[in-house]
């Protein structure tokens, strides 16, 4: 029978407050393509980081057996020396180095510190041929497209004598033809005996190339499907991914009244700031009503964040075009200041990177976006500032010894509440919440859902961008589904089901085939 190459047993990994992996078992046979699927946050990347030593042995529970032996990796180097090579979704290539230099970075050809460039480029050329990349190894990475970069990354992995190749969303930024070529390459490797683990959201691709599919959900393995025994269809995979009860993790929609249209966006198009030819948001039109929670669903990279950041005072993207109407009147928001003055608020998905000043206090963070409200002639009134911070601390139940506490010392859930407080203090009519419950515990999630409901009841419009389908379904009055920068479906909150939303995402993906140019 087939030989087991890798076995991960009872892997449990906890982060402060969150159990990312819960007793996960994974068995990968030699020479197969093993797909790993699950929603965002299901634990796929965490599992692969455990395998590759990003989370060193000892920081998780459980054992890893590889090629029959017990392995304890402490660094990525350890796992790579055994032929386990991971290719991350964000490519790890250095733009101003050549393909050849990148391929042998940290693995240089030559002796005693001196690089043998002839050997480097000769081997690079050979490997590029293997992966079918027709470029000189002396070409700079920045001069080739993403598809070719992905191939260069694979060649780099081969240069490390990879036996087990882990690809995290390798086709996420590739077009149809490039994706096809890449999958073909994986099948070719498989015939040569190379084993791959493929993480992907593109179920059609998985259904076509994978031998086995392991489905993760909430940090646990739900099932492993085997092509030889089970009939693998996309619907079958979806059922495994989403089959969860909503039970009482959500407070329900409450009794709010959705009013008239408050904001309308027409033909909104945004281009990538670095690759000006890439359309990140493509001709999007939608409406937002008073007192409504509007869900925006879609996979990572669907263009949701980019769409709303570009609306929020052009804080993302190049050549933003389209029209925006607030209360029926056309407005142009050219800066974040404009957007705030027009009563918009954007609560970022990246609260540490883009949202909070971690080394400042709760008080300072709360008032930052609306300092004018607590100051006079440019001088801050400490009393009013404390008053405001304390008001929101109580209102949002921020657990802290005092508002002078550094935000960096709070738990994720409380940080998220501070971020919400900051934007509620800016007194917006339309709140855009981007992944407001990412990475926080269940209790805080529930509190944030209650805050969302309260805001809607007060007549605010809440736009809820979320990758968690159950959340969108339970909270929203209406849902737009986005994919590849476009809105591919609109559903009313009452009728939408997880399967229906997933199906729209996937149909959007298939509609991609006769692609854009």
């Amino acid at each position: 029978m087939e030989k087991v190459l890798l076995e991960m047993k009872h892997i449990t990994k906890t982060f402060p407050g969150v159990k990312a992996l819960d007793d996960v078992n994974l068995k990968v046979a030699g020479g197969e393509i093993h797909a790993l699927v699950g929603e965002n946050g299901a634990g796929k990347s965490t599992l692969m980081n455990v395998l590759s030593g990003v989370y060193p042995h000892g920081s998780y529970q459980g054992e890893i057996f590889y090629q029959g032996g017990l392995c304890r990796f402490h660094t990525i180097r350890d796992s790579e020396s055994r032929g386990i090579v991971i290719i991350h979704q964000e490519l790890a290539l250095i733009p101003y180095m050549t393909i050849g230099e990148n391929m042998f970075l940290g693995n240089e050809r030559g002796r005693s510190g001196k690089i043998n460039w002839n050997e480097t480029y000769a081997q690079a050329e050979e490997l590029l041929l293997t992966v079918g990349l027709k470029e000189s190894p002396r070409t700079l990475i920045k001069d080739i497209g993403v598809g070719k970069q992905q191939l260069a990354e694979i060649a780099k992995a081969l240069a490390k004598q990879a036996r087990l190749l882990i690809l995290d969303e390798p086709t996420a930024s590739l077009n149809e033809a490039e994706s096809g070529a890449l999958l073909e390459l994986l099948l070719h490797f498989k015939r040569q005996g190379l084993t791959s683990i493929l993480i992907s959201h593109k179920l059609n691709e998985i259904a076509s190339v994978a031998d086995k599919i392991t489905i993760l959900r909430d940090g646990a393995v739900i099932e492993t499907l085997d092509k030889k025994q089970d009939l693998i269809t996309e619907d079958r995979i979806i059922r495994g991914m989403v089959g969860r009860e909503l039970s009482d993790r959500f407070p329900g929609r409450g009794n709010r009244r959705v009013g008239a249209v408050r904001m309308e966006v027409r033909n909104w198009t945004v281009f990538h700031p670095l690759y000006p030819e890439r359309r990140v948001v493509d001709d999007v039109s939608f409406t937002v009503r008073r007192g409504e929670v509007l869900g925006i669903s879609g996979l990572m990279g669907a263009g949701r964040t980019e769409l709303f950041m570009s609306i929020f005072g052009k804080s993302y993207g190049e050549a933003v075009s389209g029209s925006l109407f607030l209360e029926g009147r056309r407005v142009r928001l050219n800066s974040v200041r404009d957007a705030i003055l027009h009563k918009l608020a954007y609560v970022t998905e990246d609260r540490k990177g883009n949202g909070l000043i971690l080394k400042n206090s709760i008080r300072v963070n709360t008032t930052l976006a609306n300092l004018g409200a607590v100051s006079r002639w440019g001088v801050i009134d400490r009393d009013r500032e404390y008053g405001a911070a304390n008001h929101y601390r109580e209102k949002l139940n921020i657990k802290c010894p005092g508002v002078d506490r550094q935000v960096g010392n709070l738990s994720g859930g409380n940080q998220q509440k501070v971020l919400l407080a900051k934007w509620m203090f800016a007194d917006p009519d339309i709140l855009i919440l981007d992944e407001p419950t990412r990475g926080i515990d269940v209790g805080s999630k529930y509190e944030i859902y209650c805050i969302i409901n309260r805001l809607a009841e007060e007549g605010k419009s809440v736009i809820l961008i979320s990758s968690e389908l159950p959340e969108v379904l339970a909270m929203s009055d209406r849902i737009y589904v986005m994919n590849e920068g476009r809105i591919v479906g609109e559903l009313s909150g009452g009728e939408a089901t997880q399967e229906a939303v997933m199906a729209r995402i996937l149909s959007g993906e298939r509609g991609e085939q006769n692609g854009k140019d």
Binding site: F312, G313, S315, S335, V336, R337, A339, I340, Y346, T348, G353, N354, G355, L356, I357, L358, K359, N360, V364, L368, A369, L371, G372, S375, G378, V379, I380, R382, D383, Y386, G387, N390, P401, G402, V403, K422
Partner: protein, 396 residues
């Protein structure tokens, strides 16, 4: 909770404790000479430029650890222009002061433009400025010294020359009563403001910290101020330049802690992206930091030529390092977003005390540099490591 509070207090006052220790060390090694009235007085007049420049440098550093290498050259250039205007062109003193302030601010605007709007790294822009304005100083002065001994009004105004003290209005010879009175007045105002704001905070329940710490802080500061003014009054009274330093320190201390603009410097250094997404024009904040640095460099230029009663093309060398050093020793973060004006003043005093103490001990000039360098390194290591929770080696 209580535990973290104690360490917080120690962290907050580390530099004051270090300053006290170093001061006692030098008092011991110099047989008390460092505490003599004359030496206390010269500590101020010798280091006035550091206080002024470090205050401006703090704003730059707050925006993200950005430094300004050009300040020494700008000090020299502005001084050169002022001296040449007054001496060679016989320009009215006040017009010359205005011109100097304007030139400094324009230089700040020039450098600020490239840094803030074009986003050229500050290190490069100000390194260029350092060369350019050093060169231009030479050009303006023709490579020679221009004496401003004759411009007595100017020299007196900025605390140079022989008459560099505030006159004693109650003159009785031995003890300068004006100075002593000013000390009491300052302590009185300080206590009044502190106690009033503390009462207010307590009444509204924002502050629940212990009364002991508060009382200790008040008495230590008051005692220090009184001791300081007492020493000054035993010499010749308040050095004129101290008034300038106080004006700068008070204005910028207020600006950084109580105004919106001040808050923005901290915000940009703390997290620029979050600040921009909060609707704040971050380019403008960078620009302001360097604009202001140019202005304060001009003021330091005035103080410098007044003290030397001349302008020379070599003035101001390594002033930038003194200012940067004072900021980092005073607790400003090398990554930006953290630092206070009082902290920087303590840093500057610390550097001044080390300089003076070693000179009095007769330590070789070159060894003094070695010691200062090591103190600076130690201060930043302490800052970085304590922020990492005490781990010396960074994780990879």
């Amino acid at each position: 909770m209580e535990k973290t509070k104690n360490t917080d207090i120690i962290k907050k006052y580390t530099m004051i404790i270090v300053l006290a220790l170093i001061l006692s060390f030098f008092a011991w090694r110099t047989g008390g000479a460092i505490l003599l009235p004359m030496n206390v007085s010269s500590l101020i007049s010798q280091n006035a430029y550091v206080f002024i420049l470090a205050t401006g440098m703090l704003l730059c550093i707050l925006t993200g650890g950005n430094i300004d290498l050009s300040v020494g050259s700008v000090v020299c250039f502005v001084g050169a222009i002022g001296a040449v205007l007054m001496v060679n062109f016989k320009v009215n003193m006040y017009l010359a002061i205005l011109a100097m302030a304007l030139v400094g601010t324009l230089i700040g605007a020039w450098q600020g433009f490239w840094i803030a709007f074009v986003r050229i790294p500050p290190f490069i822009v100000t390194l260029a400025g350092m060369l350019v304005f050093r060169g231009l100083s030479n050009v303006v002065l023709n490579g020679m010294t221009v004496s401003i001994k004759e411009q007595e009004a100017f020299v007196n105004l900025f605390g140079g020359g022989a008459n560099c003290y505030i006159p004693d209005f109650f003159g009785n010879g031995t003890l300068n009563l004006t100075c002593l009175l000013a000390g009491f007045l300052a302590v009185g105002i300080f206590l009044f403001l502190q106690i009033r704001s503390c009462r207010e905070r307590r009444r509204k329940g924002y502050d629940r910290s212990g009364a002991f710490g508060f009382a200790l802080k008040l008495s230590v500061v008051s005692a220090a101020v009184l001791a300081f003014t007492w020493r000054l009054s035993q010499h010749k009274g308040i050095p004129t330049v101290l008034i300038w330093v106080l004006i700068v320190v008070l204005i910028y201390g207020y600006l950084t802690s109580n105004t919106r603009v001040g808050r923005y410097f901290y915000a940009v250094g703390g997290n620029e992206k979050a600040t921009r997404l909060s609707g704040i024009n971050t380019n403008r904040v960078y620009f302001l930091a360097y604009l202001n640095m140019g202005f304060l460099a001009a003021l330091a230029g005035m103080v410098t030529i007044a003290r030397m009663t001349s302008a020379q093309p070599t003035y101001g060398q390594s002033y930038e390092m003194d200012a940067i050093g004072a900021c980092f020793i005073g607790g400003a973060s090398a990554y930006g977003g953290i630092g206070t004006v009082p902290g920087v003043i303590i840093g500057a005093v610390l550097m001044g005390v080390i300089n003076l103490g070693m000179s009095l001990m007769g330590v070789d000039q070159n060894m003094q540099k070695v010691v200062k360098g090591l103190v600076l390194l130690a201060a930043v290591i302490f800052d970085v490591v304590s922020k990492r929770g005490g781990k010396l080696i960074a994780g990879n």
